[in-house]
Symmetry: C2
Amino acid sequence: MNIPETKFPRVVIVGGGFGGLSLASSLKGVPLQVVLLDRNNYHTFQPLLYQVASSGLEPDSIAFPIRKIFRNQENLVFRMTEVQEIISEKKILVTSIGELKYDYLVLATGSQTGFFGLKNVEQQSMAMKTIPQALDLRSLILQNFEKAMLSTDVREIEKLLNFVVVGGGPTGVELAGSLAEMKIHVLPADYPGLDASKMQIHLLEAGSRLLPAFSEVSSASTLNFLTDLGVKTLLNTAVKDYDGSTVKVNTGNDLLSSTVIWAAGVEGAPVKGIEGEALLRNKRLSVDEFNRVKGYTSIFAVGDVANMTNDERFPNGHPMVAQPAIQQGELLAKNLKNMLSDKPMKAFQYKDLGSMATVGRNKAVVELPFMKMQGILAWLVWMFVHLMALVGWRNRAVTLVNWMWSYFNYDRGVRLIIRPFKK
Amino acid sequence: MNIPETKFPRVVIVGGGFGGLSLASSLKGVPLQVVLLDRNNYHTFQPLLYQVASSGLEPDSIAFPIRKIFRNQENLVFRMTEVQEIISEKKILVTSIGELKYDYLVLATGSQTGFFGLKNVEQQSMAMKTIPQALDLRSLILQNFEKAMLSTDVREIEKLLNFVVVGGGPTGVELAGSLAEMKIHVLPADYPGLDASKMQIHLLEAGSRLLPAFSEVSSASTLNFLTDLGVKTLLNTAVKDYDGSTVKVNTGNDLLSSTVIWAAGVEGAPVKGIEGEALLRNKRLSVDEFNRVKGYTSIFAVGDVANMTNDERFPNGHPMVAQPAIQQGELLAKNLKNMLSDKPMKAFQYKDLGSMATVGRNKAVVELPFMKMQGILAWLVWMFVHLMALVGWRNRAVTLVNWMWSYFNYDRGVRLIIRPFKK
């Protein structure tokens, strides 16, 4: 891997998501050699992936080169690689570009799409956890429109224009709303020969309400917003099977669709080599209040992959969103520093800053610790928070141009099929 | 193809480049059914492809959805398809989505990369005529940097960091300059462990000067600009072979390089079915002064693929750039209108508006009919003209943000390896 040895202990961080980045940058100036590994050379701002999929933003708005973030951090080395296995007895990490010795290892590998063992669904549906996946989904949506233009077969057109989003969490809600806006504003203008009313968006949620992590008020508002936009929300509806054209559900009301977007399941993304009681059924890693992986002394985990249960508000671990990852990364940096100087470590305490989701133009729900909002004001807050959360001023400026342009033109700027998607 | 018959004659245009778009939009309101076909759902602004390859711009800045351009043109139908063959006796076009009858056919298929029969070069080198190709090249450049970081083998590092651009026309010059700026500004900051001086950019030109279509003054300035930036320009140097690691040249001074970018040859992109004397050796189609393909009465060609020799300034056909295509498209629209009302057609007369090329920051050459410029002023003119030539205000705004950001930060915003390139 061509990484020089230094006189400082080496901490290896696997993953450049919110947790990995917050930890790595908080270690600036600390007497450690920080080695950050990621399979990509960029950080992905996952909350806006659905806008890449729905032709609202290009990848460069939500991706940021990792090397650039750490330009001025002398104790950090970045390598783009795929991590394959941990050999904890030898404190060695095996990667696609060679082996690496560590003194401390931090797993910030995040989460991956879970399919509850539904093999057919896994093969036939579209996931949306990475930028290439979001681009594939964008291509597929636009290709479906093009194909529907060519067809005279009513069933075929129905199948092509029925988009089934599975999962009523923020990702599912935001994508369904965004597709509905494409139906209203883009489809009739771009495809005059196509009957736009034939496009359907179904949002399926296995539970009894949307956004289960939010309050009932927000769930109800969200359902109303989606219904206004023409999205058909099916609650208490779980997918049983999908063969690429028929979605089988528990209620018996099967749906015909060539596009199922799976936003229903999420599980930890562990690394091979961590076994035993540390590896939970949801594939997250059980950690103590200092983010130490159960059973290991030099291995830590932060963010989505870490399952910490010391907080009675979250008996099954913290929500798999950005804030716990960022806060854990920051605290772990302090704790590693404390460890080096033999000071006691501090237990993690999650500060809930609130949550938010957007359905579309002027439609969002926001829950802050001190108030709840729905509608235009919530939408403005959502936009401001997400814009500021992006890394770097260039990304913010480009995103703002795109959002303003879309807002005033009721349009999507980037409906380009750059790489056609083939199943 | 699901295209309704109308009472109007049908003109089918193949290709949504500069020529096809200018013709199609000039036919607005004319009593013809206009069917526009392209293999992509977007128009590519080819003059800025090199900025996509060198991490300066994202595809959305230089691509524009074709359907959007023609939203308000009622007599136009667009289909995304690959054209396969013309059966001229039956006036039928065979495409990947079915057959299409035409009354008039216009080929605006542009040009393709030509390799002068060098099969190995064709297989091993990178071309830059399409957006996916430019993105592949971007990935490869960044992957080479990452790989060089991992290597301790001097020869391997030399190979990875030696970029050989073949062809001293505007594309080659602009790309070489852009790579040189990455060497100066991006490499040292992003890859502190890498010796930036190891990166080399070689620009190979078979003729005796760069930009052969420009004046000698501009050629000399361009050579100076490139030398200032550290580009090694090799004139009178032609590539004979390339096996993926050694570039064999006519002078005997072979080069070690894992990245050869081929910007040396360009030829017409004809469609199967046009044969005989119309198909020239450079694969362009011989047309008369009304853009009628020699030997055919209902088939026309405009732009790069059309070879018109009625102009003594251009005995071998017009230069394969945007202006002749745009002007031919506009005139052909008028001539088709004249044909419909039995008026005489007008012969094409090319109005040379000048040419320009940029080498880098503050460095460009511009030749207008009434004056020549080099340096900062030329660079500002180049930027203004290219910005205004982009389709749509969103693209202009996004491009401007990126250019300003790069200018003030000496940086490239989008050095993202979204889809790794594999040979």
